[in-house]
Structures are given as structure tokens and as C-alpha cells.
């Protein structure tokens, strides 16, 4: 079933890919819609809401790019992709940008010929265990049965971690988060491991979240970010700088509430350049002068997007941590707009 789906997609994409050879930016403008690859559904990052409208942290990036290029945050065709189909979909031109909590790794960047254009969430792989197990460190997990959500970098990290520490484990690969959660709760595995953000999101849905603890070890770096095809640098620039615009907006205090007037009322030249009331940054990139203003107006700046979709006020309840602005001790940092 999946095989035929991939193959069918390949064939169709192959037939349609003649157009993808031209600049993606021109293609998107001519089409009037941005094709954005997202997950098939991970609450907080990308999932359709009750009305069928896609919402989430990754979705917000897609909408911002659409607003920057086309002036409309709703001019996005969301293409749900699985862990298996995502790279084929991007390589074949079926989607213009993949925003699907995908970890930036060397082989994906170099061997698969993609360009990661930045990081929108710094994550790391963690472990969740029932409190009753009495385990306080991942190094005590010798011989444990571990549920893994398959199709991610977590399998490799896990194998590396246990090998480095010279302890054994038994992997139970599970296709989806929901099934893994059910197996974990039934006691079919002792430990559940995935990105720490995913663990927090999963634990939030338990009946008694207090009975489960996240172990202190974070065994990997998982920089998640949007990616585009290798070799189309103009398009890569547009997506990258849209993300940077959202990040810079938070740093500079530009929000969805004040973005309409701050461009003219402020004295800060960087805000003026960012919002296009001064300079020609938009023109250099081949988009409207107020591209960044439109992108920010859709869902707000990086901080607003974070707070609305996965922040501490939401059921997912993630603290900013590493994802705070660099001015607050985090890693989120945008190059200067000049």
C-alpha cells in the first residue's frame, strides 16, 4: 500500500516536475499558492483544527512564507507527509518547502541534496518512564524494553547511546505516536523515547501525568527546521529570511498587534528596514517591500507563534528553554537585517 503510494507519487511528481526546474519563487507566484509539506498530524506542530484549518508551529512558518511571497497567509496548500514520504515529496517538486519537525543532519543536507534554511525549534531526544519504576537516570535502563516512534533519527541516537554506555535494551518500533503511547501505558515497554517536546506533548494527554517522569538525560541534538531543495538559492533565501524576520521581529518588539503602525512610528532603522518602510530589502529578494510585515501579521512574531501553539499556556506546555531569544540566554538568533 505504502509502496504503491510512494511510487504513484513519484510517477505523478515525475510527470509534473518539468515545471519545477524553473525558479521555485516564480513557480509559486505563478501558481498563486505555496505547496507546503507538513506532518500528517502532531498537535501543536501541525494538525488541522476542528474546522479543518491547519494550525501549529510548523504550519505558521508555511503561512508566513506564503504571506511574504503572495501576500496571503491562507494561500497555502498543505501536503501531509509521513516520515517516509517527506523527502521524496520535496525532491520531486511536489512541495516547495518541507516544514515537518525534521532534524537537520549532515546526510540529509549533503547526501539527499536538501538545504536546511534555519532552525525553528531546538530539540533533543529524551526518555519518559513511569515513576513507579524507580529509575532516575537513563544509564539505569540496562535490559529495558524501549518504545520508539519509528521513522525518525531517534532510532539511531538510541542505538548509539546504549552502545556508548555498554548497556543493552530491546527496541519496540511503533509507527505512530498514538500507538506508542498506548503500548507504553499498557506496560508493553518500560520506556518511551522521542524528542523531548514530543514527550511533553504526549505526557500532557495522559490521565495522570504526574505518574511519569522525563529522565534528565537528553541524548541528542535535534535541531528542527524547514528545508528546501538544494540548488535553488533564491527560493532558499526567501524561506530562510522569512523565518529570520519572525525571529528578528520578536527581538525588536514587533508583534502582530503593532506591525501595522510601528514601521512608520518607530525611530529604529532596523525595524524600518525589516518592515520595508526604509531600504530595498524586499526588492533584492524579489518580493514586495512589505513582505516581512505581511509575514508577521499572519501569526505574529516567533515568540507569539511559540506561545500560541506549544508554549506554557497551551496543553503542550513547553518552556522556551533553548528556544528563547539569544538575549534571554537561548539559541534563537537572527542575522542582522541590513
Amino acid at each position: 500500500m505504502k509502496k504503491t503510494a510512494i511510487f504513484g507519487a513519484l510517477t505523478i511528481a515525475g510527470l509534473a516536475a518539468g515545471a519545477a526546474a524553473a525558479g521555485t519563487l516564480d513557480d509559486v507566484k505563478a501558481r498563486g499558492k505555496l505547496n507546503c509539506g507538513v506532518t500528517t498530524g502532531l498537535v501543536g506542530f501541525a494538525a488541522p483544527d476542528a474546522n479543518g484549518k491547519w494550525e501549529g508551529f510548523d504550519v505558521a512558518v508555511c503561512r508566513a512564507v506564503a504571506a511574504a511571497v503572495l501576500g496571503d497567509g491562507d494561500a497555502v496548500e498543505f501536503v501531509p507527509t509521513t516520515g517516509k514520504t517527506r523527502f521524496t515529496a520535496l525532491a520531486s517538486g511536489e512541495i516547495d518547502v518541507l516544514a515537518r519537525n525534521t532534524t537537520w543532519t549532515f546526510s540529509r543536507d549533503v547526501d539527499l541534496k536538501f538545504n536546511f534554511i534555519g532552525v525553528n525549534y531546538y530539540d533533543g531526544q529524551g526518555f519518559m518512564v513511569p515513576k513507579a519504576l524507580g529509575v532516575s537516570s537513563a544509564k539505569d535502563l540496562d535490559g529495558a524494553t524501549v518504545c520508539i516512534q519509528t521513522g525518525t533519527t531517534t532510532e539511531l541516537n538510541l542505538a548509539d547511546f546504549f552502545r556508548t554506555n555498554n548497556i543493552s535494551y530491546e527496541p519496540v518500533p511503533i509507527e505512530t505516536n498514538a500507538e506508542a503511547q498506548q503500548q507504553y501505558l499498557a506496560g508493553a515497554c518500560d520506556v518511551y523515547t522521542t524528542d523531548a517536546s514530543g514527550l511533553a506533548a504526549t505526557r500532557a494527554t495522559f490521565e495522570t501525568p504526574g505518574d511519569h517522569i522525563l529522565l534528565p538525560e537528553i541524548i541528542s541534538k535535534e535541531p528542527l527546521g524547514p528545508l528546501v531543495r538544494h540548488g535553488d538559492d533564491e527560493w532558499g533565501d526567501v524561506v530562510a529570511w522569512t523565518l529570520y524576520a519572525l525571529i528578528a521581529a520578536e527581538e525588536l518588539g514587533v508583534t502582530s498587534a503593532n506591525v501595522a503602525e510601528i514601521g512608520t512610528s518607530t525611530n529604529n532603522p532596523e525595524i524600518k528596514r525589516l518592515l520595508g518602510t526604509e531600504g530595498t530589502l524586499g526588492e533584492m529578494m524579489g518580493v514586495d517591500a512589505d513582505w516581512a510585515a505581511k509575514a508577521i501579521a499572519v501569526g505574529g512574531n516567533y515568540g507569539e507563534i511559540f506561545a500560541k501553539n506549544i508554549g506554557e499556556e497551551t496543553p503542550i506546555g513547553l518552556a522556551r528553554g533553548l528556544n528563547a531569544q539569544w538575549t534571554n540566554g537561548g539559541l534563537i538568533y537572527a542575522p542582522p537585517f541590513r
Binding site: 505504502k2 509502496k3 517516509k84 529495558a144 521513522g151 548509539d160 519496540v172 499498557a186
Partner: protein
């Protein structure tokens, strides 16, 4: 005097390709074949051109690189440092294992249910009809997940076996049924060949002895048949056959020093013994019981295809119902049953690719899942997968066709 004249033999004209019924079908077939070939050629060149444009290439080098991930059920030695190719082989063996087990049990379920569906007992007949209709009409993926879910929810986790007053205990102090799998005592040899006396050679020896016993008993039976045909008296072979079966194998196992390794709770899990994983059990059972429903219908159709007169004639000769079924009905029914049975075996093999739903590491989960995802070599992996399933299906077909030829009506 009459002379036979040949029909007028006109020279071949190109228009005959279209207007002459002798050539027309050939023409049309040739055109269809060329069009089909062009379609495939176009698709292939398009794919190649687009891959080139994207800077990608078709390469199988990744098969030699370390896989980097672990697999929970490995029939051969495997670590996360083994190659992707070895991971694929582990998957292939797992696929073959579950397919083989499921084919056997599905046949048993199917034959039982098929025969019982024709039972004169109303309750038995209706129960079997119920079984067939329920299992045949719900997708096998749903069955796999239901059975796995029930198993994990109903059976205790290993921690329930711990402590002074544990809520669960092992059967006969030897078998532990947990929601991670069933742990049974595992045999091993203390005086065998190979590393620590436990090489694969020992098992080959055991299998060879069993095969030898099988051949010997067949020969005993054949000589008894010959004697019966010649003299009308059948010699008693029961004790001789039992001896041939049991004495050599017991001697060999004793010589190799067969011992049992009992599972015991250590740390998070049971250690030692033989583990039959929960995913394997769920997949095996679901495939068997689902395909068994189809096979039951094949068996019923086969039996009903044997005319009632045959049964009545056999009964008139004084044969008992069991012998009528065994000697008259089933041998003829098999000719109808075997061809559809082949396709059911193929279905089992192909349906085993749903294994990843319960975390069973078959070829689709290793090569077509984790390897594909970690290397990003989707086209290569999918092509390999298709090739594997094609080869396996053709092999099963070939074997079953040999059997079918042996069983089918011999026309002389």
C-alpha cells in the same frame, strides 16, 4: 479425375495486417506491446532525467554502510553496527518466519472450519459460518491491531511477576506469559559442536536425524503395503515405526547434552529461555485466523464439488464417514482446493508486510522502513522490496504448482 488445388496463395500485402483475420490480432497485440513499452520507457527516462536534475542518482552503496539501528527479533547475529544489507536479511528472515508459521496454522484453521461448515450439526455449522463471515469481512490490519491491543492489555507486564506476593506467576515455573511476549524454556547443548557447544551444526544434525527417521518409516510402510498386496496380511508396523522415530533422536540429543534454559525475571525483563515476541504472536495469529476464513471457504467449495453420488456410493460399500472423507472426498476435493490455496499463501506473505503496525521487524519495517528513512534512498529501497516480494511469491507459486501437479487428476 479430380485434382486437389491449393487455395489461392496471394502474395503477402501489408494491408492484410489489418484486413486479414489471420494477422489482425497479431498486429493489434504488437501495437499494444509497443505502446506499453514506450510508456515504461517514457516513465523511466522521465524519472532518470528528474533525478539527474535534482542531483540525485540511483546507487545501492548504502547497503554496505552500517545500519545504525537495533532490531528486536533477529534470527541471525546482528548489531547496530551491521550493514544495511544485513538488516535487510534479518527482515527477510523475519518475514519468511511469520509467513511460514501463518501458512501452516491458516491451513489447519481453514481445513477444520471448512469441514465443520458442512457438519450435520446445526450449531457447529452456524458457528463456523459465523467465524468465516466475521474474519473474512474485516480488514486484516484491524485484526492485527485488535489482537495486539488485547494481548498487551490483558496479559500482565513483567513487573507483575516481581515480589513476594506477585499478582502473576509462571506456568509450571517454566512459561511466562507477559504482554511483551511469551517466554518458554529454550533448549541448548552442553556437549555439542561449535562455539560453546552451541553451533548451528547441532541443529542441522537433529534435523538430519529426523529426516532420516521420516524416510525410514516411509520405507517400512511401503514394504508393509507390498506385503499386504502380495499376501493380504498387513504386518504390524506401529512399534517398529515408533522405535525408528524416537530411539535415534533421543540418543543424539543425549549425546549432545540437551539442557533447558529456563526464563527468569532479571531487571526489567525475563532473561534466558526462548522469547516469542508479542508482535510475532499477534501478527502470526491475526494472519492465520484471517486467511483461515478464506481457506475454509476454499475447502468447503472443494468438498461440495465432489458429487454426492460418490459419498453415497462409498457409504453403500460400507465405509465409515471418516474413511469416506479421507479416502474418497478429500483426495478429489484437493484438486479444487489447491489452486486457490496457492493464492491464499501468497496473500499471507504479502499481508505480512503490515507487520510494522505492531512493531514486528519484517523486511518492510527494516529495509522499507528504517533503512529507507535513515538513508533517504526511497526508490532503491522500494525497488528492492518489490523484487523481494516478487521473488518470494513466484517461489511459493512454483512450489505449490509442483504439489498441484502431483495431486491433480492423472489423465492417461
Amino acid at each position: 479425375m479430380t485434382t486437389l488445388t491449393d487455395p489461392p496463395k496471394g502474395a503477402f500485402r501489408p494491408s492484410m495486417l489489418l484486413y486479414d483475420s489471420r494477422y489482425r490480432s497479431l498486429t493489434l497485440q504488437a501495437i499494444a506491446a509497443i505502446v506499453l513499452a514506450c510508456c515504461f520507457l517514457y516513465l523511466y527516462s522521465n524519472l532518470a532525467a528528474n533525478l539527474r536534475a535534482a542531483g540525485l542518482n540511483i546507487s545501492y552503496d548504502f547497503l554496505g554502510n552500517p545500519a545504525g539501528y537495533d532490531i528486536n527479533q533477529t534470527l541471525i547475529d546482528y548489531t547496530s553496527q551491521s550493514t544495511n544489507w544485513r538488516a535487510a536479511v534479518v527482515g527477510i528472515l523475519n518475514t519468511l518466519l511469520v509467513a511460514f508459521l501463518a501458512c501452516i496454522t491458516a491451513t489447519v484453521f481453514g481445513v477444520l472450519a471448512g469441514v465443520l461448515r458442512l457438519s450435520p450439526n446445526w450449531l457447529v455449522r452456524k458457528l463456523m459460518a459465523f467465524y468465516v463471515e466475521i474474519f473474512r469481512n474485516i480488514p486484516v490490519l484491524i485484526w492485527i491491531i485488535i489482537i495486539f491491543t488485547i494481548m498487551t492489555a490483558v496479559l500482565p507486564s513483567p513487573s507483575a511477576f516481581r515480589g513476594e506476593n506477585a499478582s502473576s506467576s509462571m506456568l509450571f515455573d517454566a512459561v511466562a506469559m507477559t504482554n511483551r511476549g511469551v517466554y518458554v524454556p529454550g533448549p541448548y547443548f552442553t556437549r555439542g559442536f561449535g562455539a560453546e557447544g552451541n553451533g548451528a551444526l547441532n541443529w542441522l544434525l537433529v534435523i538430519a536425524v529426523l529426516v532420516g527417521s521420516l524416510i525410514a518409516t516411509r520405507m517400512v510402510t511401503a514394504s508393509a503395503d507390498a506385503k499386504q498386496a502380495a499376501t493380504g496380511v498387513r504386518p504390524k508396523t506401529l512399534w517398529l515405526n515408533l522405535g525408528i522415530w524416537f530411539v535415534p533422536i533421543i540418543v543424539v540429543l543425549f549425546a549432545l547434552g540437551l539442557t533447558w534454559d529456563y526464563p527468569a525475571l532479571k531487571g526489567f525483563n525475563f532473561q534466558g529461555g526462548l522469547k516469542i515476541g508479542g508482535p510475532l504472536i499477534a501478527l502470526w495469529f491475526a494472519l492465520s485466523i484471517y486467511t483461515g476464513a478464506f481457506i475454509a471457504e476454499n475447502v468447503r467449495a472443494g468438498i461440495q464439488a465432489v458429487s454426492k453420488g460418490q459419498t453415497e456410493a462409498a457409504a453403500a460399500l460400507g465405509l465409515r464417514p471418516r474413511r469416506i472423507m479421507g479416502l474418497v472426498v478429500l483426495p478429489q476435493a484437493l484438486r479444487v482446493i489447491i489452486p486457490p490455496l496457492i493464492s491464499q499463501y501468497l496473500n499471507i506473505t504479502k499481508n505480512s508486510s503490515l507487520a510494522i503496525a505492531v512493531g514486528y521487524a519484517d523486511i518492510t519495517a527494516t529495509l522499507g522502513g528504517i533503512t529507507l528513512n535513515q538513508t533517504g534512498r526511497a526508490i532503491e529501497c522500494v525497488l528492492l522490496l518489490m523484487l523481494f516480494y516478487l521473488i518470494i511469491s513466484l517461489l511459493i507459486s512454483a512450489f505449490m504448482n509442483v504439489y498441484n501437479n502431483a495431486m491433480k487428476l492423472k489423465e492417461r
